[in-house]
């Protein structure tokens, strides 16, 4: 029974992880840029939900609707203004660039929101759901469903919409896409915007479960990276599978080795995957 409960916890966590990783994986796959800012975007989204609820009484699930356009605009502008200039530069430079931007953003948040942990607590609480011995808090369940829904929506946008097909085309073959009349620079900016949107939208969901702190950005970033390697880089189904897998592994790892070893566990997993199955669990690359 306990293992079923742990498994359910892992799936709930994993749904949220999938949402964290989908945008990160998209940006990495299409732009070949590791966006170090991703973790801080998530935290910023969390603060947005916290203050919207505390000051204006907007439910965190609804604040996603506010976060989405704001973060898209932020990501679009950043890519247009700065990152597009460095897109062809070596890994070290693009990494340093997003690292520098992340230092600025996280320091800004530390300054504005202080280092105190903030916890978003719903009033009244949504209660718990008990299904044949497995107990799940309803807010977590909803957060997971919304996270999976968002990730699914991203998949639909990429596979069905015109702009989504253009993003996939740029990922597959930049030159050919440009020859077909795709404005590559614009697609880069849209892609980065979508990545920021996914991060900003998962912020409110995570804020329902975890305390918010300006210092937790790197932890989310690390998870996004591990998930990309687990599921295979640059595909939404990969991020989904990787996210769920990491959630379940972390839950059982917490039970067997103690939760303080979460980073060590996922790093070990990361190294093993990179050494033995670098294409990820799904074993194929590219958006499909």
């Amino acid at each position: 029974m306990l293992s079923l409960q742990i498994f359910a916890n892992g799936l709930v966590l994993g749904g949220l992880y999938a949402c964290i990783a989908a945008g990160f994986s998209l940006v990495w796959g299409v732009l070949n840029i590791i966006n170090i800012l991703h973790g801080s975007f998530i935290v910023l989204g969390g603060y947005l939900a916290y203050y919207a609820y505390a000051k204006l009484g907007i439910h965190p699930f609804l604040s996603i609707l506010i976060a989405a356009p704001l973060f898209f605009a932020l990501g679009y502008a950043l890519q247009r203004a700065l990152i597009n200039r460095m897109i062809a530069a070596p890994v070290l430079l693009t990494l340093s660039l997003t690292f520098g931007l992340d230092l600025m953003l996280s320091n800004g948040m530390l300054f504005a929101f202080t280092a105190d942990f903030k916890k978003l607590t719903l009033d009244p609480p949504l209660g718990v759901l008990s299904l044949s011995g497995i107990v799940l808090p309803v807010d977590r369940l909803f957060a997971m469903l919304l996270a999976l829904g968002l990730t699914g929506l991203l998949y639909l946008v990429l596979s069905r919409s015109r702009i989504g097909r253009a993003i996939v085309a740029v990922r597959m073959d930049r030159e050919a896409a440009a020859l077909m009349g795709v404005n590559v620079k614009r697609i880069y900016a849209v892609t980065f915007g979508v990545g920021a949107l996914m991060a900003g939208a998962s912020g409110p969901l995570l804020a329902m479960i975890f305390p918010i702190s300006p210092l937790s950005g790197p932890a989310y970033l690390g998870k996004a990276f591990v998930i990309c390697v687990l599921g295979g880089l640059g595909s939404v189904p990969g991020a989904m599978i990787g996210g769920l897998a990491l959630g379940v592994v972390e839950s059982f790892g917490g039970l067997w080795f103690g939760p303080e070893h979460a980073v060590t566990l996922s790093f070990t997993l990361l190294i093993l995957m990179l050494l033995f199955r670098p294409t990820g669990l799904l074993g194929r690359a590219g958006y499909s």
Binding site: I34, A88, F99, L103, F111, R174, T264, F267, L274
Partner: protein, 308 residues
């Protein structure tokens, strides 16, 4: 090579005069600058010469700090503890390198970035040995005054910087350095031509680890108290990279000049904007990457536009 060595010796002699000023502030700044120089030079082995974007400096630095501190806890004399720490970081880098150096680009960069986090977690949970989150106190020599200690650590750091520089100079002009530059330009071709790429990369990583680790151990003895978030700070990795980028990657004097420039900027920022200094540091990095990606000494290089 001879002219570089002579110039370095002159520089060394000049820096060694610093304690004559008798000012504790300048002595502290000088020691920090030398430590930054060692970090930058140690990164240069793997990052500048082999062109691998390593973010492992913080891991080596922290590991060295803890190895030195724990060795001293068990009664190893200070100087020997520093050597042990360098050796521990060297061995760790060898093992880590065998696994990580098969990766390239982003995968290598992020994997090396996570190592410091993992070590921090392990050190945090090994409370018996390392004191965990409470940190670890290092023995303070009883018979020394504050001023003489400051001088002692300044000269120790100067010695380490001299050793690191010598190692870097020798490597640059050796077969190893040549092989590493081949790997940087085209690893597959270097492999084809008979460069043992795995061996060379691991050797560069080990050199990088050993000196960063020794710097960590010296730092630990210098400040007498270490705790995991302090020595496993990811900023050590990023600072090492920024310093080399500032001074120009791959060159012999680049890391040292980069360290001097970086520390001057950092000190100005730290003094004037205590609350937002990491933000200003971030801004510096962004500006550096956007406008001076080849370092401050690169003059108006014609911009070669690679196809994205």
């Amino acid at each position: 090579m001879r002219s570089s060595a002579l110039l370095a010796a002159a520089l060394l002699a000049l820096v060694a005069l610093l304690p004559l000023s008798g000012d504790a502030y300048w002595l502290r700044l000088g020691t920090t600058m030398l430590m930054y120089g060692v970090l930058a030079m140690s990164w240069n082995f793997i990052g500048g010469m082999a062109g691998y974007p390593s973010f492992a400096s913080a891991a080596f630095f922290g590991l060295g700090a803890y190895a030195g501190a724990v060795a001293q806890k068990f009664g190893v004399p200070m100087g020997l503890a520093w050597v042990c720490a360098g050796g521990a970081a060297l061995a760790f880098a060898a093992l880590l390198g065998l696994a990580l150096l098969r990766l390239r680009g982003h995968y290598f960069a992020i994997a090396s970035l996570v190592v410091a986090e993992v070590l921090r977690e392990l050190v945090n949970s090994a409370t018996d040995l390392t004191g965990g989150g409470m940190g670890l106190n290092l023995p303070v020599p009883h018979d020394a005054t504050v001023a003489s200690q400051a001088q002692f650590f300044f000269y120790s750091m100067l010695g380490l910087a001299a050793i690191t520089f010598t190692a870097m100079l020798l490597t640059t002009h050796s077969k190893l350095g040549f092989g590493l530059r081949c790997i940087q330009q085209n690893e597959a071709a270097a492999d084809m031509l008979g460069v043992n790429t795995t061996l060379y990369k691991v050797a560069a990583f080990m050199l990088s680890g050993a000196f960063a680790g020794a710097a960590g151990a010296l730092y630990a003895s210098w400040v007498h108290y270490i705790e995991p978030p302090d020595v496993f700070d990811v900023l050590y990795s990023i600072k090492a990279i920024v310093m080399v980028l500032l001074g120009g990657a791959g060159s012999v004097f680049g890391p040292l000049f980069g360290a001097a420039i970086f520390l001057s900027l950092e000190e100005l920022v730290w003094r004037n904007y205590l609350q937002v200094h990491t933000g200003v540091l971030g801004l510096m990095i962004v500006l550096l990457v956007l406008f001076l990606p080849k370092g401050v000494f690169a003059r108006a290089v014609p911009r070669t536009r690679k196809k994205p």
